[in-house]
């Protein structure tokens, strides 16, 4: 097995599971915490939002900094939303990590391919912001 392939193998078998597990645990903890605080401190809000979702009204748009600020101040909805963001960032983190790996290997073609995937994920955020 070549040196490059050995590094790839190590990244895959050792680091990727570690990143995936850590981010998954953090997001699961945030989701449980958000749901528990919402159920105990604002049950009316939860039921109202659930009914609104059944009617197709689920649109709540919040700026990132506002979301972070209100999550830190203990707002249950923001904590839950933050947990969902962390969960969605799992693939972004993994692709970013792979990008660094290919750059270190000086593998231009795969660094470019990974950069494209990374750019597409970021473009997804921008596309969503545009509506």
């Amino acid at each position: 097995m070549s040196r490059d392939r050995r590094i790839e193998d190590q990244i895959l078998r050792k680091w990727t599971p570690l990143i995936l597990r850590t981010l998954l645990l953090i997001s699961a903890a945030l989701l449980v915490l958000g749901l528990a605080t919402m159920g105990s401190s604002a049950p009316g809000y939860y039921v109202r939002r659930f009914r609104a979702a059944q009617l197709g009204v689920s649109h709540i748009r919040q700026e990132w900094y506002e979301l972070g600020k209100s999550a830190l101040s203990g707002d249950p909805r923001s904590i839950t939303m933050f947990g969902l963001f962390v969960l969605t960032l799992v693939p972004l983190g993994r692709v970013g990590f792979t990008f660094v790996l290919f750059l270190r290997e000086r593998d231009g073609v795969f660094a470019l391919a990974t950069a494209y995937v990374l750019a597409a994920l970021i473009a997804g955020i921008m596309l969503g912001r545009l509506g």
Partner: protein, 314 residues
């Protein structure tokens, strides 16, 4: 022949599954609308139960939780397609992350193939997720029904023989071939062919994922298995590795647009992940062939239900 129908309590024609769902005491009805912790507990436990089951069945059938949680939310929790799709996409990200931990440890994932094909899947997923916000939900339901029929077909067809090919010129240049460890500890090399065909199908798989909130694993595995001639275990592991990124691209569009219902998506993500972890533990001891036939029958029933709802404007 059209599926049998009857008149529901609202005076509208409903399909058997919807009729059954409306007769069941579910926590998703308005009778439970007391604004108390208990009401929240009822709804959350209902969503958790539904998504645990979807994740469990999805793992056992090899189709993933998304294929079952979307119709589950639409038919049983009375959610519109867009809400179900966004919640499902997030749960697919979680499930893929959980499952790929085991696959990457076993060394079956081909990182290079995954990265090249992810270029195709994320492109399709972005277009699909964008369109999911504007396509009428009846059209989405009809497309979902067609996707379920396609999944049932891929579940039934036999996989080709594992004759290992030599990599073609393009795949050799990209160094896509790899090695896998056999049961007896020896290492076998495999080649890869047909990248353009595989990548074309991946655009379609990504599009379906973003539009319908599924992992589209069946199509991804089929593309790698039939067109790129990868060993089946490598196809499955690499597909699982890619599903998270594909679904993540779609989920980010929904999240940034503000179209994710946190009160639905959070319990669904937790439940589907838990269910799929339980399913994957049982899978090695299960009779996969019998289970697959059972799940294909369930898929066909749900596909009929979704098509019926779409065509009758329910």
């Amino acid at each position: 022949m059209a599926p049998p129908s009857r008149i529901g309590t609202t005076g509208r024609r409903v399909c058997p599954l919807s009729a059954l769902a409306s007769d069941l005491p579910t926590p998703f009805r308005h009778e439970n609308d007391r604004r108390s912790f208990k009401a929240v507990l009822n709804i959350v436990s209902g969503l958790l139960g539904l998504s645990l089951l979807a994740g469990f069945v999805g793992a056992l059938s090899g189709l993933g939780g998304g294929v079952f949680i979307v119709p589950g939310l639409v038919i049983l929790a009375h959610m519109p397609m867009q809400v179900a799709v966004s919640a499902s996409l997030i749960s697919v990200v979680a499930t893929s992350a959980g499952a790929s931990v085991a696959f990457v440890r076993d060394g079956w994932t081909n990182l290079r193939v995954a990265m090249i094909l992810e270029c195709a899947t994320v492109t399709g997923a972005l277009v699909g997720a964008y369109l999911a916000g504007v396509v009428p939900h009846k059209v989405l339901e009809l497309l979902f029904a067609l996707m379920m029929l396609q999944s049932a077909y891929f579940s039934l067809i036999q996989h080709r023989d594992d004759n290992v090919p030599t990599s073609d010129r393009c795949c050799t240049w990209l160094g896509l071939g790899g090695e896998i460890e056999n049961v007896d500890g020896t290492v076998s090399s495999y080649g890869v062919v047909g990248l353009p065909w595989g990548a074309s199908l991946m655009v379609a798989a990504g599009f379906m994922s973003g539009l319908l909130g599924i992992g589209a694993g069946a199509l991804k595995v089929a593309a790698m298995d039939y067109f790129m001639r990868l060993p089946l275990k490598v196809s499955s592991a690499t597909s699982n590795f890619m599903i998270g990124v594909t679904a993540g691209a779609g989920a980010l569009v929904f999240l940034a647009r503000g179209d994710v219902s946190t009160v639905v998506a959070a319990p669904v993500a937790l439940g589907v992940t838990g269910g799929s972890l339980a399913g994957s533990r049982i899978l090695p001891r299960a009779n996969v062939r019998t289970l697959r036939l059972l799940f294909v029958a369930i898929l066909l029933m749900i596909a009929l239900e979704m098509a019926w709802r779409a065509l009758n404007g329910i």
